[in-house]
Symmetry: C2
Subunit: 143 residues, 2 copies
């Protein structure tokens, strides 16, 4: 079940150019065995990862450099998950892995909360303004 670049772009809501550009600057991995001129192929996991990345970028307003750091965290997370699920991994190591995961997720939550606070602050201001307008409308009477 491999997807071509156009399908991926449509699913995550971006353009093929953006996906190629991200590959070009090293944000997305390059397939090693792809000959010049051949189609790029992706799977569902690539789609999920790209969607997450674009969502973070859009919501946090970070640069592609900063996005790269967040993606590296994600990649490290997947590697750790694999190690975590390996039955041979000892409990002490699993605990360490879980702690790192917890740290990362809390960092991302912090960034999101900071953003939400800003938005809520501005919302409160606008709601105050709205209340004053409504008051004025009430005094003026009429529907």
């Amino acid at each position: 079940m491999s997807l071509r670049i156009g399908e991926v772009a449509a699913r995550v809501g971006t353009t093929t150019r953006t996906i190629r550009y991200y590959e070009e600057i090293g944000l997305l991995p390059v397939e090693e065995d792809r000959a010049a001129g051949q189609h790029r192929l992706y799977d569902e996991r690539d789609v999920d990862r790209l969607r997450d990345a674009l969502r973070l970028k859009g919501l946090l307003g970070v640069s592609l450099d900063e996005l790269g750091e967040l993606l590296e965290l994600e990649e490290a997370r997947e590697a750790r998950r694999t190690e975590f699920r390996d039955e041979r991994t000892p409990a002490i190591r699993r605990r360490e892995i879980a702690r790192q995961g917890l740290f990362n997720v809390e960092r991302q939550l912090e960034l999101l909360r900071a953003r939400r606070d800003e938005i809520e602050h501005l919302e409160a201001e606008l709601e105050g303004r709205r209340a004053r307008i409504r008051e004025a409308l009430g005094e003026l009477g009429g529907g």
Copy 2:
């Protein structure tokens, strides 16, 4: 109490280049009587407007074209406020002005709420992930 461009930039948290660029593309008004090579001067209201504009741009992630539309709404708002406060303005006109103001403020609130929803959605996902990690840590035992 007029401010120079550097002071304005510092107050709103941007650069002098950005302010000059916004003037260049028509986003900010040009002082008519400023001779070539002379300093740009601003007042507190300019600072407030620019701060609001940059905040909207940053939080909503809009282009400068779209930001321009929002600024025009703001400008229209100021004009209406002046008219509203004029004692000669009849009640029927005041009601219309208030309704337009209400419409604008609700549109901006809608944009902000949509953004906040997206952020909260992603937050919920991350909180779920965090809960699962904590659960795993609990099962593994140890502080």
